[in-house]
Amino acid sequence: VVMNGDLNAEAARLRERKLRFLYELVDSENNKKVITEVDRLLKKQPGFTCAKILKALALIRMQKTVEAKEILDLVIKEVPVDDGSIQALSICYKELDDHVTMSKVFEAASKKLPSEELMTHSFMAQVRTNEFQKMQLTALNLYKMYSKPTYFGWAVASLLIKADKLTPADSGRPISLTLAERMLGKFISEVDKTQVGGVEESILLLYLETLSKQKKWEEVLTALKDFIGYPDPSRARPGTMTPFMITEEYHLIQRIITLFKNDEEIGPEVKSLLDELLTKFQARVRADLQMACKFGAEKPSFYTDMIPYVNSPLLSSEMKEEFMQIVALHSKHDGDQDQDQSIYSSVRDIIRDVNYELLDRDLFPDPGPLQRKSRAERCLLKYFSADSISSSLRSGSESDKNLITKEADYHDQFLVIAASTLMAKYDDDENDFDGVLSSIRSSKPEEIPLENLNLDENPQKSSYSLSDQDYLLMTAILLMEFGLKQCPYNHSLRILLIKAYTRIGAVQRACVVSTGLDIKHVQWDSLGFLIIWKVLRGGLYAISRQMLTVAESVYLNYKRDCMEHLITAYKFGSFGKIQEFEGFREQLLNSCQFGLIQVEKQLLQLSSTTLSSATNHPQVKISPALVAKSLEVEKTGGEDMFWKKKEFTDNRDFTILSYLESNQKPFENLKAKTGETDVELVKIRRALLVLLAETVVLVEEEKNSNPGRLERIDEALSIIREKTGLKMDGNCENVPYFNGLWPPAQLQYFEMGCLSTIVEMVGEVRKAIGESGAGASCLVSMSSMITSFWSGVKTRLTEKMSKLTILTMGGCIEDIHHVVETFSFACILFGVAIKAGKTREASGSGTAVSATSSRRKKKAASDAASKAAAQGPPPDFAPLKEVHSSLRDLIMEFRLVDICSIPPRANWHWSTAQKEWEGLLSDKLKEKVFAPAWDEVQQGIVDSYGLQLDQFMRAVDNNSKFVTGMETSSAQ
């Protein structure tokens, strides 16, 4: 027996040594060697299960999944239970993304050899696959065998999750909740409360949660009283400064009054009650506001804290004015001070005055641009007045040395107010949402806000021209560049500057500024909207590809890891987090930004991968495998189709804009409208992607092995038509869509006819696939479509160029992007149409090839003649080449325009700026702010335009090469 034991131990050691060698090979990714070694081993030891699994792993890593699965299927029938095999199987199924089979493997193994380790693994595998019933059973078995409260918690948490997944109407929900409550009640009653620790807190929290879900509030209170004696200390506790305003009562009364206030049908008694309530409400709010002003107005957070209350529609304008008077007691808001002497005596004075200006901006918005300019000037004066205090603080001469540097720079907020006030007119004239639309819709510069300028109030300013408007924006940019140099960490200034640069189309410049925000990880979802879409539409394709890839990886990595986080929550008994994690998964993975990021990345990839790979090929050929692989067409045609989704989440973070935008209705409307546009865009662009990709793959496949492709093309076509109201004549009905919130603009993509052109071209290609001899006519139709599209767009762009300003340049740049993209897709469709024609010819001559060899030559000669007859004239590439060359010329014209010296820009010079500010600021200060930044900013904008236009030209050149390749290929 001893000898046998020694032999067994020796054999185990030997196996271990061999496995270690194999592990090293696997780790070093020497997959071929793994397979050779395993095959050699298996000849001697055919039952070496772990080695077989390692071979399967090597095959998976060599993309030979079919062979790997064959091995794995056989292995799991043996139900291995040893550590090595189980671990190797876990890795295999993880890499195959097959959690269901792994769950079965663990289940079988834990039945064969019940152990705590295997059973917990089994439970976790079931968590990954959402098998709630099995989770509950496994957890209860674990609890029976090992008596650990955690396992009991697992069982109950599984029940609660199961109940959560059911709708309230489902009878299974109350059953699961009742069962959970009984299990917990029994468990808690059996615990000896006199022992140290008593009931575990996590179990108690589960009990409270179960009761809460059933709305059993009395039982919740009893449980709290019995087991804790006081409520959870981490729950929200109101502060003491303004007790009424943060109570539920405040919100309730506000809701009630608002509800009845506009109801004209209420009787006199109710009305009288309502008035009484309103009076009491206002009295309490007034008392609170007075108290808040007395003790809080010198806090930097005062504005943020107050604004929800002072903005209440229930506060009369008298009350608002009264409130502002209290704030103003210590403010220097009259702006009538000596410029060279500080009007502030301490930082607290500065903070109070900043709060005053912010509240004043929100409560009493300026009616016209001149008042806005005046407000900006006042804030600028205050900024410089405060700067001397801040300088002395920085040098340490101020007595209050506890103030941190950032507080010394708090006066930067004056610059933020000044710049945002100057810029406000560019997107919310008159605070009227319709006004925004009408001015945005009009791409003609002279029509932008002329009707909203209130010229009558200042007749001598009637020469207010477009250049004056540009001038204000330019001034805002200069102020912000100056401010950022003083305080690079002021994110408000940075975000506002990004907005200014993207508004004028200087996206490259905006991109440079945005790097200071250091957007990363989950912030791509909440903050990406500030820059990501403008980079793409601004022509910075390489940066855009990089940005989209990084942003997409956040979601993909999370998708990969999210179940592990859930498992960690189970493992550590954080049962309260389990449902929260489930909710977060839904919120992040259904994010509209995620949908947009994915589809835009894939569309960008489609044009660049397809065109560049094909142009490098001597015989122009679009590789279906490449397209399918890069786009994962099969997946987009499956359950991941975003257009079928009904619910999208909008996780954009608008709290960061609170200092930049007054909390007015138009802004709220814009937020909602752009959110809706994003959802529609995800669906439409996804449909376009499927339309293009499926068409490419369908035509390029040697055999039409997937009949579902045509169906998917039809489905995509119908989605696009339904969503855009696209009729057969190409007109879109359901415009306008909005081009992102920051800054708002109307999306011209549909109006320009980009989408309708591509959709109709796809329709032509479909005809060519179905009809013999339709290839040539298809190409003719497509040529005519693209020529007609370009003709319309060219007129539009030429007209815009004749009145080019920095304000209209942003729109021109986006227009050019839409054209470049449309041309790229058109080129792909031309390639596909030519291929479709050739395929039909090949299949027509296929029967002839099968004839006997003696007749082949004769037959081939007659085929060539008949083919030439059926084919008609060779494809005419001239129209396609012509439009590309014409677009290139136009971009070049834009490139050559000196944006700073064309006539409307005549007064955009330093001397004019100096004159404009004459009497408002001392020359010394003007020199300090504008002079150093002027040349740099102006050059930066011009360079940005140049770089972006160059990128467009490069993309057009790439397309042209592709067309030339097609022509050469077609002639051969």
Partner: protein, 173 residues
């Protein structure tokens, strides 16, 4: 006008105003999720009246035996909400949690140049326990102070007897 609440996953979408601070790091999602899953009691936020996140603390409980302690991984308050005692409120909450978990002490690392933060921790009863050389990577690397505060379980306050010599990061338990 603020309240202290548990930090939830959804707060990750709206903590940007706080994280714009140059000394506040934005970590990968997994990092936050792990803290929420493992030490939910140690992850708290301060919310203003608009429901915005204006500060948060992230920490954990770790160590063995007499080294069982609470650790502050991250503490930050938005610029506009500083000097209102919010950081102290968050720190107190973490200390209470650590007391509840029967920890011996609470510790944290801070850049030796971050004088304001060091002063604040000192005012809350923390002492510099030791210096950790080149703890913060950068150009150049920067030393950290390992600051500690003894909790009631450490009756003899053994955990806060300062070390005389600095240590390397790899020597930290």
């Amino acid at each position: 006008m603020t309240s202290l609440k548990p930090f939830t996953c959804a707060d990750l979408f709206k903590f940007n105003k706080v994280n714009f601070d140059p000394l506040t790091e934005t970590y990968g999602l997994s990092f936050y999720m792990t803290y929420m899953a493992r030490w939910p009691d140690y992850f708290k936020k301060i919310e203003n009246t608009k429901g915005e996140v204006v500060g948060y603390i992230m920490g954990k409980a770790e160590g063995m035996g007499e080294n069982w302690h609470g650790h502050v991984t991250c503490l930050t308050v938005a610029e506009q909400y500083r000097r209102q005692g919010l950081a102290a409120k968050l720190m107190r909450n973490l200390e209470e949690t650590s007391e509840h978990k029967r920890c011996y002490f609470v510790d944290l690392f801070v850049r030796v140049t971050n004088c304001k933060a060091i002063r604040m921790y000192e005012s809350l009863g923390y002492i510099v326990y030791r210096t950790v050389l080149d703890y913060y990577s950068g150009d150049p690397d920067e030393n950290a102070y390992d600051m500690r505060k003894a909790l009631s379980r450490d009756v003899h306050r053994k955990s806060v007897i300062p070390l005389k010599h600095p240590v390397r990061p790899e020597e930290i338990e």
